[in-house]
Subunit: 287 residues, 2 copies
């Protein structure tokens, strides 16, 4: 019987696709194709039609989909209902789903959030552990994977994450240590853990030290494409081993889902082309 751990299902999918490509679903009404906007009677309907179209166009190249919860929540409860259906469509295509919700709460409240992630249907969730390691456990106990925010790609993340501690290392490295420790009892068949980490591609100067601190973590890596990171920047983040995807899951959102069609090309063909190009680019480095 195959493992039912999130991390093992994710690694199997990465192996199947041959590339750790994660496609971010960050739908913003203003940026949707004209044809979708004109044929929809509400923002929620347009977002749903777009996301279903993206999923169907790109699933074969996708090791995971990462819906951005905020983009759905901004449409109110109707948007959350759309999110449920979008996640179901990803799952129908056998692609694991990382809900990018950056939740961070403790004890019974974190248990409620874990149930919320299950209600939406996702397999894993991004988590903010500023409140301590007890923010992480309830998701794991519910059978979900987590990606804990360690080192983020935004310009002002240094204001918190780069500060040096008297005990040595930075705040981000402290977080990395907590993540590694939480992950140890949650390892799957390949030695990787259900507890992953978010490590921004544009901060890959810190990558080598973070990889040393977190050998058993899959790194969810935003910053590829629109945010300026390229496949070459991944190298310090990779594991040495034969783990599918070499320990990373690389996300692009805007550069794929809003890919510019060439003359005569449909929007969904352009999106499929961008997803395939990303898949191939990553495969060439991860190889």
């Amino acid at each position: 019987m195959p493992s039912t751990r999130f991390v093992d299902r994710l690694l199997a999918r990465i192996a199947h696709v041959g590339s750790p490509t994660c496609i971010g679903l960050d739908p913003v009404v203003d940026r949707l194709p004209e044809s979708i906007r004109t044929s929809s009677t509400s923002d929620a309907e347009a977002v749903e039609a777009f996301c279903i179209g993206v999923i169907d166009a790109t699933a074969e190249h996708a090791a995971a989909f990462k819906p951005q919860s905020a983009c759905f929540e901004r449409l109110g409860s109707a948007g959350v209902a759309v999110l449920e259906r979008v996640v179901a469509q990803a799952k129908a295509n056998e692609v694991p789903v990382v809900l990018d919700a950056k939740r961070g709460d403790i004890g019974s409240t974190a248990e409620h959030y874990a149930k919320a992630v299950l209600a939406i249907g996702a397999d894993s969730v991004t988590v903010n552990a500023y409140l301590g390691p007890s923010t992480i456990e309830p998701y794991l106990d519910a059978g979900l994977g987590v990606f804990v925010l360690v080192r983020t790609s935004n310009p002002d993340s240094d204001a918190v994450q780069s500060n040096e501690l008297t005990t040595g290392g930075t705040v981000a490295e402290l977080m990395a240590g907590l993540v590694s420790k939480s992950g140890q009892p949650r390892a799957g068949e390949r030695g990787m853990s259900d507890v992953g980490a978010v490590v921004g591609l544009t901060k890959s100067a810190d990558g080598q030290s973070l990889r040393k601190l977190m050998p058993g973590q899959i790194f969810l890596v935003p910053g590829y494409g629109a945010q300026g990171g390229c496949a070459e920047d991944l190298k310090p983040l990779l594991t040495e081993s034969d783990i599918p995807g070499r320990g990373v899951l690389v996300n692009a959102s805007r550069s794929v889902i809003y890919a510019e069609p060439e003359p005569g090309e449909s929007w969904s063909a352009a999106v499929a082309r961008a997803a395939k190009a990303m898949r191939d680019d990553l495969a060439s480095v991860i190889g």
Copy 2:
């Protein structure tokens, strides 16, 4: 014309009630009164009936209501629709609403979350700023107040927040400095800011230093009641000035909303009694 700033509306409400009592709405189906559970056809319906009942029973004693987003999200999109109606009921009673959602994201994503808070109808939101100060601004630009997580009341919060930095002070104190700085251009009529801070009552040993670092912040203080804090523990957190509520907004959830009825007393009368007792207890210390 009265100020439309969140902080000024909150202070006016605290002055009106005569106490900085915040009532947390953390509805959990298993704990709802028997009469509500038997008369409801779904969990979402039961949660809605309970919260509306709590609001109507306690509004006169409440300086604010703080719905716990996770408790609604766990019911899926139907739960988020309930949250929208619960917030509307609080607003109909002229009580400001703090959405306890602990959101934390950056740039355009934080803008989406700000829109989501507006869609739900709340006046302010709890925010996690591990990603940096740019997590805070989009909520303020949308006209919302924020309470940034600085020092939380859970036992394992020390694992991150108590670490000492080489530049002096702890991680929590670093966060306090960022919060104070973000808040400076957002001060209202009384010199307090739309940028508040979450400071747990059970960590009030740190309170004096945090108050010194954040003189212009309203402290949202969880930990009163069920979590073991009492009004006396507030003293290190208070401002010296004549600010209504002396710079704190004190939350209790379970000890109020699940108050045990006395023989012959209805559940809603018990909840009203617990809210009034909390109001009076806080008023005696803040006085």
